[in-house]
């Protein structure tokens, strides 16, 4: 996947509002990229635009060139009211409950994806669905497939969502804050699962998060966004190095760490060195 100079503007009554400007990055098979930023930095917008989920009446997307899986793609948004899927890109969201169709059974949701994606028949689709539910570590897949999302526990829903997103074998998986609603220990388990499956399938992973620790643990490279602009794109391990941009350094210092109880004052992002953060548009 290669994206060159991509910009996204939201269309409002009062003209367009730029949300992401001039983002470029490359991603190879099985690579893992984190997009880190605070709320309002445009990271979710970037994710939606990449997955093709912004219809044309919502946002304008411009891009110099974009390739996914070696083939050039037109990143510009689709015209239809319900956006069309970007071939080869899947996405998972923060809240599994609202992401799944609340009234359709799990097996039905698998079937619609599997039939559309790989043209499987009913029986084959069912076998594939069983296979996938087992793969994400759900016991009694037969029973779970019959249930509807509201009858599952939160963890199960999360797993079902991951299975659904990956069962069409996408080239890249975008995870939008996949774990920020979860507790630290649970979120590690979910991330381990996602990581294992993507590695197995050779799927590239783009993880959107505000949790720098999570990014450091699970990704190879990190893209730091601030107000829609790329501040840094580097190997995740080098985030702390002094060559990074001033914003990245400031952001890294802000992350509270174990052992800080020895300090009197936490480092904070000072507004003097950067554009004001606390403004409500």
């Amino acid at each position: 996947m290669a994206i060159d100079r991509m910009s996204v503007c939201y269309v409002t009554d009062d003209g367009t509002v730029p949300a992401v400007s001039d983002v470029s990055f490359r991603l190879s098979t099985s690579e893992r990229l984190a997009i880190v930023g605070e709320s309002g930095s445009g990271k979710s917008t970037l994710a939606l635009a990449l997955a093709g989920l912004l219809p044309r009446h919502v946002a304008e997307i411009s891009c110099e060139s974009a390739r996914i899986g070696g083939r050039p793609v037109d990143l510009r948004a689709d015209k239809s009211v319900i956006p069309r899927r970007r071939e080869g890109v899947s996405m998972i969201f923060q809240d599994a409950m609202t992401s799944l169709d609340p009234v359709a059974s799990i097996s039905h949701q698998f079937r619609t994806v599997l039939k559309a994606g790989s043209g499987l028949g009913r029986a084959e689709a069912r076998r594939a669905a069983l296979n996938w539910t087992e793969k994400v570590g759900i016991h009694e897949p037969e029973r779970v497939l019959r249930l509807r999302p509201y009858e599952l526990s939160g963890g199960m829903r999360q797993r079902v969502m991951i299975a659904l997103a990956l069962c069409s074998a996408p080239k890249a998986l975008i995870a939008d804050e996949p774990t920020s609603a979860l507790d630290a220990s649970v979120s590690r388990k979910v991330m381990d699962l996602v990581l294992g499956l993507t590695q197995e399938l050779g799927t590239a992973l783009i993880m959107i998060t505000h949790d720098v620790d999570l990014a450091r643990e699970y990704t190879d490279r990190t893209l730091v966004l601030y107000r829609g602009e790329v501040q840094d794109l580097c190997a995740t391990a080098e985030l702390m190095s002094p060559e990074r941009s001033s914003y990245t350094q400031a952001l890294m210092r802000c992350v509270p760490r174990l052992g800080d109880h020895a300090l009197d004052v936490l480092p904070t992002l000072t507004t003097s060195s950067l554009p004001v953060l606390e403004t409500v548009p």
Binding site: V11, T12, D13, D14, V17, A19, S39, K43, T45, V58
Partner: protein, 306 residues
């Protein structure tokens, strides 16, 4: 920010508030209501003839003298239509104010007594059930029954229409009160030492009357509709009074013979006024926050500490 943008844009009705004062928008929103009320107030000045007297031959076609023609007893249709607005507005405003006021009080009471204990809760629950059942009675049927039992009079009409239309503000206010009850600022008020009664009046009611207030023009519109429907089936305001529904039905037999003006003009007025009121009731809530914002700006400066 990204999330708010997406939802703001995907939901077409949520729009970014503009900073300048929206005179144009406000005027456009209120215009239909103002025109209707003006016609009602100025009816004696606008109408060229007495609406309840025979002034010419029967069934004259519209002309320069009688703009909308005359009806089957020779009364001027134009004057009657204009005075008809008076009846509609008088009923509409009375009903809207009464129903909204009663609805807010009852709705707040029901909302606050839910999940409380003792007699208040029982009473609130009973009121809520009663209101549930009254909603099930079709409005015109309820009006027919009330008028049939009390005899035809303005009071019985008023009671009938208020009884049906008060249910919406009750439900709206109750829903809001139930929402507001869970807001963290009520806890904050308690922690700040405010008493329950004070919190109810200072925080709960002001924050929950919005929907009921916005519903007011809609009640006005519905009242016009019910009144016209009742007049049309002959259960409404008594005979010579110029009431739109009654005028429509009394001209029906003439309509079949091609003398359309007696029926069509009042029908057009009902149509226009109901649409106008509906337009206003939809447009006013849209412009209201901006108007409120424009007016609250000075107070903001006054309260500043710096």
């Amino acid at each position: 920010m990204a999330e708010t943008h997406v939802s703001a844009v995907l939901l077409p009705r949520a729009r970014a508030a503009r900073t300048h004062f929206p005179w144009g928008g406000a005027a456009a929103a209120f215009l239909p209501l103002i025109v209707i009320v003006l016609v009602a107030v100025l009816a004696p000045l606008i109408a060229p003839h007495d609406p309840e007297k025979t002034v010419a031959d029967t069934r004259l076609a519209p002309s320069g003298e009688f703009w909308f023609g005359t009806d089957s007893v020779g009364m001027d249709v134009f004057s009657r239509v204009v005075f008809g607005a008076r009846i509609a507005v008088r009923f509409g405003i009375t009903v809207a104010v009464c129903a909204t006021a009663i609805g807010i009080l009852v709705g707040t009471f029901i909302g606050l007594s839910e999940r409380s204990r003792g007699i208040q809760s029982a009473l609130g629950g009973a009121l809520n059930r009663v209101s549930d059942y009254i909603v099930a009675i079709p409005d015109i049927i309820l009006a027919i029954v009330v008028v049939g039992i009390m005899g035809a009079s303005d009071l019985s009409l008023l009671i009938a229409i208020v009884l049906t239309l008060v249910q919406a503000p009750i439900k709206l206010t109750r829903m809001e009160v139930l929402r507001v009850r869970n807001e963290a600022y009520l806890e904050a008020a308690e922690l700040g030492g405010e008493s329950r009664a004070r919190a109810a009046f200072v925080h709960v009611i002001p924050n929950s009357i919005g929907p009921a207030m916005r519903n007011m023009p809609l009640i006005f519109g519905n009242c016009v509709i019910i009144l016209a429907s009742l007049g049309f089936i002959g259960v409404g305001v008594n005979a010579p009074t110029p009431e739109w529904g009654y005028m429509i039905s009394s001209g029906l037999s003439d309509l079949m013979l091609g003398e359309w003006w007696e029926t069509v003009f009042p029908a057009v007025f009902v149509f226009l006024s109901v649409l106008g009121i509906a337009y206003s009731s939809r447009a006013i809530p849209r412009v209201w926050p901006r108007i409120a914002a424009a007016f609250s700006t000075p107070s903001k400066k006054r309260k500043n500490l710096a």
